[in-house]
């Protein structure tokens, strides 16, 4: 760069930057990394680390205990399926989503940091994609870690390798889908309001109320021996939706009353609804931020 005026020598230590500028894809990646770290409180204050770390420990602890018991008692199978573990601990996953999804997007809205992002070489879709991917990855870490612990324990307990590896693969696919689903729902709700508290409450409410309502109605249907409808009711809450998908395709036993999960055909509907929901959440987020501009 030419100095501002060739006749004047400035020596105040300001150095121009002549190095590479890595552009849009790199910026998107940087935002992803920063958001993923932020989801576990890294790069933020000590206070922000407490909750996500506790929840991660709570997720892993039962897996550790199960593994210890299995190894010591020389059991011939793990007491919990890989696909079932996340369903048992759905409350913890819900809590994590409720705490961290607002942390990821509400704070940018509340402190009006979003204009700074959009004044840089990224587009709305880059911001949304990076935040979405980061939240889903954070949830995947949270849900996949205990599944991997279970697998390691199963191998230590000298259980059948092929069986366990197949189970692990199914479990990982299941939690990946769950992560995308929860990340989408959590982020859409959190992005509605710059108030973090409202975001937390909204995510908890949507996750627990929908699950509670679906379970209650399924229970009533079971009492009245209306088994067919049980399978369809599961479409109306995120966790039962996932349960349906993995019952149909990932060899899981259904946790619906009387294990009346959907079969192949209904399962396809479940899968379509799940994927549609994820895509819909992404679309809503893009729409939400298109207006956020400066």
């Amino acid at each position: 760069m030419t100095p501002p005026d060739v006749n004047v020598i400035h020596n105040i230590g300001y150095r121009h930057y002549d190095g590479p500028r890595l552009g849009r894809a790199y910026a998107r990646r940087s935002l992803f990394t920063q958001s993923l770290r932020g989801a576990y409180g890294l790069g933020r204050s000590a206070k922000s680390k407490v909750l996500p770390m506790i929840l991660l420990a709570v997720m892993c602890l039962p897996a550790g205990i199960i593994v210890a018991v299995a190894v010591v008692s020389k059991a011939d199978d793990l007491p919990v399926d890989y696909t079932r573990y996340a369903i048992y601990l759905q409350a913890v996953i819900g809590l994590y989503t409720a705490a961290q999804a607002p942390q990821s997007v509400s704070l940018d809205l509340r402190f009006k940091t979003t204009p700074l992002y959009f004044s840089r070489p990224i587009e709305t879709t880059d911001y949304v994609a990076a935040k979405f991917a980061a939240m889903a990855s954070a949830l995947f870490l949270l849900t996949a870690a205990p599944v991997v612990i279970l697998y390691a324990g199963a191998l230590l307990a000298k259980l059948d390798f092929v069986d366990q590896t197949a189970g692990l693969a199914q479990g990982l696919i299941s939690v990946a889908l769950l992560s995308l689903l929860f990340a989408g729902i959590g982020l859409v709700l959190a992005a509605l309001t710059p108030r973090r508290g409202f975001g937390v409450a909204a995510v908890i409410a949507v996750l627990t109320i929908s699950y509670g309502a679906v379970s209650a109605v399924q229970g009533i249907a079971y009492d009245q021996d209306n088994t067919e409808i049980i399978g369809w009711l599961g479409l109306f809450s995120p966790i039962t939706l996932l349960d349906g998908v993995q019952t149909a395709f990932l060899g899981a036993t259904s946790s619906f009353p009387g294990a009346h999960g959907p079969d192949g055909g209904a399962g396809a509907v479940y899968l379509l609804v799940a994927l549609g929901l994820i895509a819909g959440c992404y679309g809503l987020l893009v729409r939400r931020y298109r207006k956020a501009g400066l």
């Binding site: 760069m1 030419t2 100095p3 230590g13 500028r21 890595l22 849009r24 402190f111 009006k112």
Partner: protein, 331 residues
């Protein structure tokens, strides 16, 4: 590309009949202006279209009609490239309180495309240049307004842009902080060689800092000229005496000064040829009349002043209807 901004007589921003219409309001109305390298003040009352213009210049909001180029790049099609070379400091607060200035500015540098090591290095440099030292490792929630403004400026400068757009950078600062910020903005150009577009609703504070001033109102260009033109045209002296204002007005007019009454005040235009001797003329006239002088002070130049004197050169197009409106607002 790099030297384009620094060559004399090259425009950093050029708009051509730029308009932005919303369903109910016209935010920009056929704005045509060329902005050359240096520090440029963009002056207008709230709602005059300053922020809309910045949005369009960053390629974030499409213009309804007309064209604009920033650093030679078209805002409609090359927004990404523009935002890589331009820095932006928003008017409002934009800093997360639980992150340190260093963490934050490093992140923003990476968002501009700087590799990790360069981002860290330039963050340390830039924060030092804006005057933040040990406190940069503390969470920003505890910063004073002045420190926050410095971080906001730092994040706009960290990727070494060729042009920075500063939206009301002195907002919320006390007089000392205001002066420091203005001096810093001046240095951004003189020491760092970065062109600056700075908005304000106070013309007075910009004329000390800027090389040229662009005045817009109601989305229209009122005037664009170098600051020295403005000062000559608008500098005036407010004089208040205890009695016989009419006689004083007559006396001063006879002495060859342009004087007009405004309530109890007499507004005396500073005569560029006379310079500081204008004060002497006023003093002598007051003494001759034998009345008491309550005050004699330099007028803060407000937008209203320009409207009263009208455009001095042909670069601006002033709408008489508009002038009245703003005069009224400012009064």
């Amino acid at each position: 590309m790099g030297c384009a901004t620094n060559v004399e007589h090259v425009t950093v921003i050029a708009t051509e009949s730029l308009s932005k219409r919303y369903p109910r309001v016209t935010a920009l109305d056929r704005l045509t202006v060329d902005i050359t390298p240096g520090v440029t003040g963009l002056v207008g009352a709230n709602g005059a279209g300053k922020s809309t213009l910045i949005k369009i210049l960053l390629g974030l909001s499409p213009a309804s009609e007309g064209r604009a180029r920033v650093l030679g790049l078209d805002v409609a099609t090359e927004g990404n490239a523009i935002r890589e070379r331009v820095g932006y400091m928003p008017e409002h607060d934009c800093l997360p309180p639980d992150v340190s200035a260093t963490e934050f500015v490093v992140h923003m540098a990476r968002m501009s495309g700087l590799p990790p090591s360069a981002a860290r290095e330039r963050t340390a440099d830039t924060l030092r240049h804006v005057g933040l030292y040990e406190e940069r490792y503390r969470p920003m929630g505890g910063y004073s307004t002045g420190m926050k403004q410095r971080v906001k400026l730092a994040q706009a400068l960290v990727h070494d842009p060729q042009l920075v757009l500063l939206d009301e950078p002195t907002n919320g600062l006390d007089p000392v902080g205001r002066d420091e910020m203005l001096a810093l903005i001046r240095r951004v150009h003189t020491d760092f060689g970065i062109s600056v577009l700075v908005t304000s609703h106070l013309l007075g504070e910009l004329e000390r800092t800027c090389d040229q001033v662009v005045v817009i109102d109601g989305g229209k260009l009122l005037r664009a000229s170098s600051t020295s033109d403005f000062t000559q045209a608008t500098a005036s002296l407010a004089v208040e005496v205890t009695d016989r204002e009419d006689a004083l007005l007559e006396l001063l007019s006879e002495a060859g000064l342009a004087v007009r009454a405004e309530g109890v005040l007499l507004l005396v235009d500073m005569d560029p040829e006379r310079g500081d001797r204008t004060y002497d003329t006023v003093r002598d006239a007051v003494a001759e009349l034998g009345v008491g002088m309550v005050r004699m002070e330099q007028r803060r130049h407000r937008i209203a002043e320009i409207f009263r004197t009208g455009p001095a050169d042909g670069t601006g197009t002033a709408d008489p209807h508009r002038q009245e409106g703003v005069n009224h607002d400012a009064a």
